[in-house]
Amino acid sequence: MESTQLALFALLMPLLSATVIALFLRRAGALASYLSTATAAVVMVAALMLAYGGHRFDASADWLTLGDFTLTLGIKFDDLAALMLSIVAVIGFCVHLFSLGYMHDDGYRARFFGGLSIFMFSMIGIVLADNLFMMFIFWELVGFSSYLLINHYCLKQSAADASKKAFIVNRVGDFGFLIGILMCYAAYGTVNLNELPDIIAGGAMMSAAIPLLLFCGAVGKSAQMPLHVWLPDAMEGPTPVSALIHAATMVAAGIYMLCRIEVLMVADALNVIMWVGTVTALYAALCAVVQSDIKKVLAYSTLSQLGYMVAAFGLGSYQATVPVEIGHGDGTMQAGEIWIMVGGVGAAMFHLTTHAFFKALLFLGSGSVIHGCHQEQNIFKMGGLAKKMPITFATMTIGVLAIAGLPFLSGFYSKDAILHLAQQQNPTVFGLLIFTAVLTSFYMIRLWRITFFGAARSDGAEQAHESGFTMTLPLIALAVLSIVGGYTGAHGEGLIYGTAFTQVWEQIPHPEGIGVFIKSLVILAVGAGLAFALYKPGASDGLATKVPAAFMGLTLLKESFDKGYDYYVAKVQDRFAMVLNFLEQILLAGLIIRGLAGVVGLFGLGARALHTGSLHTYVYWFLLGVVLLWGFAGGLF
C-alpha cells in the first residue's frame, strides 16, 4: 500500500468501527468490543508500519472553497507525527485490550467501545493534520469523545457534571485557539504547517500574540493553569479512559500542538509558556499529596507532568541562527541572518513519550486495583494488595519508580533532559522543578505504600484478586516500555525506536557525567524517605495527623480554584444571565412591543384589524390584495 493510503486507513478504520457500532451493534456489547479492539490492533500495525517503514510524506486535498478562502485537509507525516502516531496507536491498543476485561460486565459496553473508536479517529486526525484548521477540527472532536467517555456513567450526577465541565472548559481554551488560528491566517495568509516555516524564514513579522493565543488551546486541552480544573473531575470516567485520554494521549495533544507550531514562537511567548508549565507542575504536585482517591492522585500527577512538558517546551533547547535573504524596497536581495528561538521540542516530546508509557501503566494498574477491590478507589481502604495481586503490584512498582526517576528507567532520562535544560536557562525554574521532582517521588511512594502494604482495610481489599490476562498483559507490555522507553539513541540506534524518530531525538539535550545520577538519586531518596517517614499503611492520612497545618493548607490550595470557579458561575455568570433575562422579558416584551403595536396601529388599518385579535382578518386582507393586484394588472380599474 502507498503511504497516503496506509495513513488514511489508520485514520478512517476507527471511524468505520464507531459507525458500525452506533448503527448495528448497540445491543451487542461483546461484538462491539471485539470489533473496536480488532480495529485498534490493525491501526497499531498500520501505524508502526508507517513509522518504522520509512514512510515520510505530505499530502493534502481541498475540502472547502469559498472565494479566496480554501480549507484543505492534509497529512504531514514527519518524524514528529510518526512518533506521536506510534504512541497513540500502541497505548490505544493496550487500553482496548485492557478494557475487554475491565468493562466486561458493563451494560453499556457498546457505547463505551464506540466512544473509544471515535476517540482513536479524532486523535489520529490531530496527529496527522498538516494545517491548523484541520487540527482545530480534530481538536474539537477529541473534546467530544472525551465528553462522551467521561459521561459513561451518565446516571451519576457527578459524571454528568464532570463531562459538561470538561467540554466547556476546553471550549474556553479553544476560544483563544481559534482566534489565534484566525490571526495566523490573517497575518501569514496560510495556516499550513509546511508553508509557515518558509514564510517565517522569509522574514515575516512575528508577534507574541499569535503563539500565545494558540497556546490557549494547549492550556485547555493539556489542562494547564488556570484551566486545569476539568482534569481531576474527568476521573469520573471509566479508568481505561483515564489512562488513554486523560493521561497518555489527548491531554498531551497540547504539547504536540506546541511542537507543531514551534516556528511561530518568539522569546516572550516561550517565557510565558515556561512559567505556566512550571507553576502548573508545582501546584499539581502539591495537590496530589493530599488526595485519597487513587485516580485523583494520578490525575494531579498527570497535571504536574504535563506542566513539566510545557515548561520544557518553553525553556527552549537551543537558539539558532538561520541564514536568510532579506529583500530591499528596490528589489535587491541581501544575505543576512535572523535569530530563531527553538522550543524544547526534543525534551518535551521525550517526556511526553515516556510519560505516556508509565502513566498509562499506572492508570491501568490502578484500574486493575479498583477492579480487584470491587470498585474501591480510596487508597486508605485498600492495603495488603502486594501479595494478592502480584502482577499488578510488580508492574505498578515499575511505573512508580519510572515516574520518580530511578536511574536507567525511562522517566529518569526524560526528566533529566528537562532539568538539564532548566539548569542552563533559568535557575528559578530549575529550583522549582527540582522541588516538584522531590514531591513527585514523595506522593508516588505514598500511594504505592498505602495501597499495596499493610493489612487489608476493607471488604473489597480483603477479597481482592488478580485480574485476568487481558488486563495483566497490557500492564506487562507497558511496564517493559516504561523500562526501555528511555533509550532514544540520539547518537545512534535507539533500543526500541531504531532510527525512526531521529529528527525529534537529536533535539534532546544530553547532560553528561556522574552528577546526573547523583542528582536523581538524591531527589528520589529525599522524596521516598519523607514518604516513608510520614505514612504508614493505615486507615488515616499520615500528614493529616502529624502535620495537620500542612495538610489543611494543601487541601485549601487544591480547593481554591474549584471554589473560585463555582463562585463565578453561580454568583456572577448565572446572576448576570438572570438580570439580562429579566430585562429582556420586562423591557422588550412589555414596553417596546406594546409601543410598536401602537405605532403600527396608527399607521396601518390592517395591523389595527389584526390587533383586535382575529387572525382570519389577515387572510382576508391577503386575498383582497391579490384580487386587487390582478384586477389592476388586468386593466379592470
Partner: protein, 507 residues
C-alpha cells in the same frame, strides 16, 4: 415538465384536494406524497445542477405568464447556487416536518396537515422564484398558515403568541415590501425580475442616497423576519407556543426568507447601501443576538424557549457574515442557513418528543431520561452539538467561514462572536444534562411511575434521522454545497481583491 413548478404546486394541489373533502385515509396517504415530492425533486435538481445550462447564475429557468406582465411581473422559476441548497433544505425539512405531523396525535389532523402543505408549497416557491414579487408572494402564502396553526394548535399562551408573531412579522414584511417596491421604481427597470433588475442596476446604478434608504428599509424589514435584536421578541415566544412541525418549518426554513432576501436581492443590488449599514448590522447581530441573547438563553428554564433563544442567537452569526459583504462571508451565511435549518428543525422535533415523555418543558423537572430513552438522548445530544458548532456537523463550516471572513473586517466583533461559541456550549450542554443525565428529579420520577417513558418510536425516528443525516453529510463533505455556492456568489458579488497581507511583504 417543469420540476420546480411541480415542487411548488404539488403540495398546494393536495392541500386543495383535502379541503374539497377527500376520504380521510386517502388524503393522508396523498399527504405523504405532497411532502415527499419537493424533497425528491430538490435532490434530483441538485444532481442535475452542475451540468445544467445557466443564465446569469440561474439554472432551470422557466417563465409563466400569470396575467401580471403589464406590471413587469412574471412567475419566473429557477435556481442558482444560493437558492439551490436552500431549496433542497426546504424540501428535506418539509418532509421531516410532514412525517412528524402525520404521526402526531393532533386534533383535526387533516386540517393541520392541509395548512402544513400550503406552508410547504409556499416555502418551495420562495426559494425557486427568480421574480421578486413572487418571492414575496410565496413568503406570505407560507406565513398565513403559520399564524393560523400557532393560534389553533399552539401550546401555552398561543393567542398572545400568535398575535405578537403576526404583528411583528407583518410589519417586517411590509417594510421589506416597501423596500422592494422602491427598488422597482428607482431602478427604472419597471420589472420585478431579478436578472433584469441586476442588469438594469449594473448599467445605471442607483444613487447613493437611494441605496442607503432602501437598504435600511430592507435591513430592518428582513431583519425583523430573521429576529434581528432588538426586534426578536416574537421568536422565542412564538416558537415556544407553536406546534412542533410549524416551529420546525418556520425556524428552520421560513425565517431564512429574510437572510435570503438580503443576500440575493439587497446586497447585490445595493452595494453602497450595504456598506453604509454594515457596521450597524454586524454590531446588532453580534452584540445583540450572539452576546445578549446568548446570555439570556443561559437563564432559560423552559426547553422550547431555550431552543427558540438559541435559534435567535445563531442568527447573529448570519448577520455578521452578511455584513462582511464578501464572497467568503456570504458563502458562509448560505452554509449556515442550510445547516441551521436542519439543526433547528431537529431540536424542535426532539423537544416535542421529550415533552411527550416528560409531560413538561421545565428543565428543572426532568433528568435521567437516557435510561429509558437512549436513542432519543443520542439524537438530542447530537443535535445540540451540531447547533453549538461541533466539527463533523454542517453548522461548523458555516460558523468557521463566517469567522474567517469577519476577521478581515470586524476583528473585535469577531472575538465577541467567537465567545458565543463558549456561551452556546454552556446552555446547550446544560440542557442536555438536565433532561437526560443524572438521577431523575422527584417530579419526573412521579411522571415516570404513572407513565413509563418509551424510547423514540420509528415514526419519530425517521424524520429525525433524515435531518441528522443531512447535518452529517454536509458536515463531512462541505464541498457538496460550497462548489455551487462559490460559483454563483463569486459571479454575483464583485470579486474581492486578494491582497497579500502586509506583514508578509515586510521583512
Amino acid at each position: 415538465m417543469d420540476l420546480l413548478l411541480i415542487a411548488i404546486v404539488a403540495p398546494l394541489v393536495l392541500a386543495l384536494a383535502m379541503v374539497l373533502g377527500l376520504p380521510k385515509a386517502l388524503a393522508r396517504n396523498l399527504a405523504y406524497l405532497g411532502f415527499a415530492l419537493p424533497a425528491v425533486i430538490g435532490i434530483i435538481l441538485w444532481c442535475q445542477f452542475d451540468a445544467a445550462a445557466k443564465e446569469s447564475t440561474y439554472a432551470f429557468l422557466t417563465t409563466y405568464d400569470t396575467g401580471l406582465t403589464g406590471l413587469g411581473i412574471n412567475l419566473t422559476l429557477g435556481l442558482n447556487g444560493i437558492s439551490l441548497p436552500l431549496f433542497v433544505m426546504a424540501g428535506i425539512v418539509g418532509l421531516a416536518a410532514g412525517l412528524y405531523a402525520l404521526q402526531s396525535a393532533a386534533e383535526r389532523l387533516n386540517h393541520y396537515v392541509t395548512l402544513l402543505l400550503v406552508m410547504q408549497g409556499g416555502l418551495m416557491g420562495v426559494f425557486a422564484s427568480v421574480d421578486v414579487f413572487f418571492f414575496y408572494f410565496f413568503h406570505e402564502l407560507a406565513l398565513i398558515p403559520t399564524f393560523i396553526m400557532v393560534g389553533i394548535w399552539g401550546g401555552r399562551d398561543r393567542n398572545y403568541a400568535a398575535m405578537k408573531m403576526t404583528i411583528y412579522l407583518t410589519v417586517g414584511a411590509m417594510l421589506s415590501l416597501i423596500g422592494l417596491i422602491a427598488i422597482y421604481y428607482t431602478s427604472g427597470a419597471q420589472t420585478f425580475d431579478m436578472i433584469a433588475l441586476r442588469e438594469a442596476i449594473a448599467a445605471e446604478g442607483l444613487s447613493t442616497v437611494a441605496q442607503r434608504n432602501i437598504f435600511g428599509l430592507l435591513m430592518f424589514g428582513f431583519g425583523i423576519l430573521v429576529s434581528l435584536w432588538p426586534l426578536h421578541t416574537w421568536a422565542p415566544l412564538g416558537y415556544g407556543a407553536a406546534p412542533s412541525s410549524v416551529a420546525m418549518l418556520h425556524a428552520g426554513v421560513l425565517k431564512k426568507f429574510g437572510l435570503y432576501g438580503l443576500i440575493q436581492v439587497a446586497l447585490p443590488l445595493l452595494p453602497e447601501g450595504a456598506a453604509h449599514w454594515a457596521l450597524i448590522l454586524a454590531t446588532l447581530g453580534v452584540v445583540g443576538n450572539v452576546l445578549i441573547i446568548g446570555v439570556v438563553a443561559m437563564a432559560q428554564r423552559d426547553l422550547k424557549q431555550l431552543v427558540g433563544y438559541s435559534s435567535v442567537m445563531h442568527m447573529g452569526y448570519a448577520f455578521l457574515g452578511v455584513a462582511c459583504l464578501s464572497v467568503v462571508g456570504v458563502g458562509g451565511v448560505v452554509f449556515m442557513m442550510v445547516a441551521h435549518g436542519f439543526s433547528a428543525a431537529l431540536l424542535f422535533l426532539l423537544a416535542t418528543s421529550i415533552h411527550h415523555r416528560t409531560q413538561t418543558f421545565d428543565l428543572d423537572e426532568m433528568g435521567g431520561l437516557v435510561k429509558s430513552a437512549p436513542v432519543l438522548s443520542a439524537f438530542f445530544v447530537a443535535a445540540t452539538l451540531a447547533s453549538i458548532g461541533l466539527p463533523g456537523f454542517a453548522n461548523f463550516w458555516g460558523e468557521l467561514t463566517i469567522f474567517v471572513a469577519a476577521w478581515q473586517v470586524f476583528p473585535t466583533l469577531t472575538v465577541i462572536a467567537i465567545a458565543g461559541v463558549v456561551i452556546s456550549a454552556i446552555y446547550g450542554l446544560r440542557a442536555a444534562a438536565k433532561v437526560f443525565f443524572g438521577p431523575p428529579t422527584e417530579a419526573f420520577a412521579k411522571v415516570l411511575q404513572e407513565q413509563p417513558a418509551t424510547d423514540l418510536t420509528w415514526s419519530e425516528r425517521l424524520p429525525a434521522l433524515l435531518l441528522l443525516v443531512a447535518l452529517l453529510a454536509f458536515g463531512f463533505w462541505p464541498k457538496l454545497m460550497t462548489d455551487s455556492i462559490n460559483e454563483s456568489v463569486a459571479e454575483i458579488y464583485p470579486a474581492v481583491e486578494t491582497t497579500v497581507p502586509a506583514d508578509v511583504a515586510r521583512n
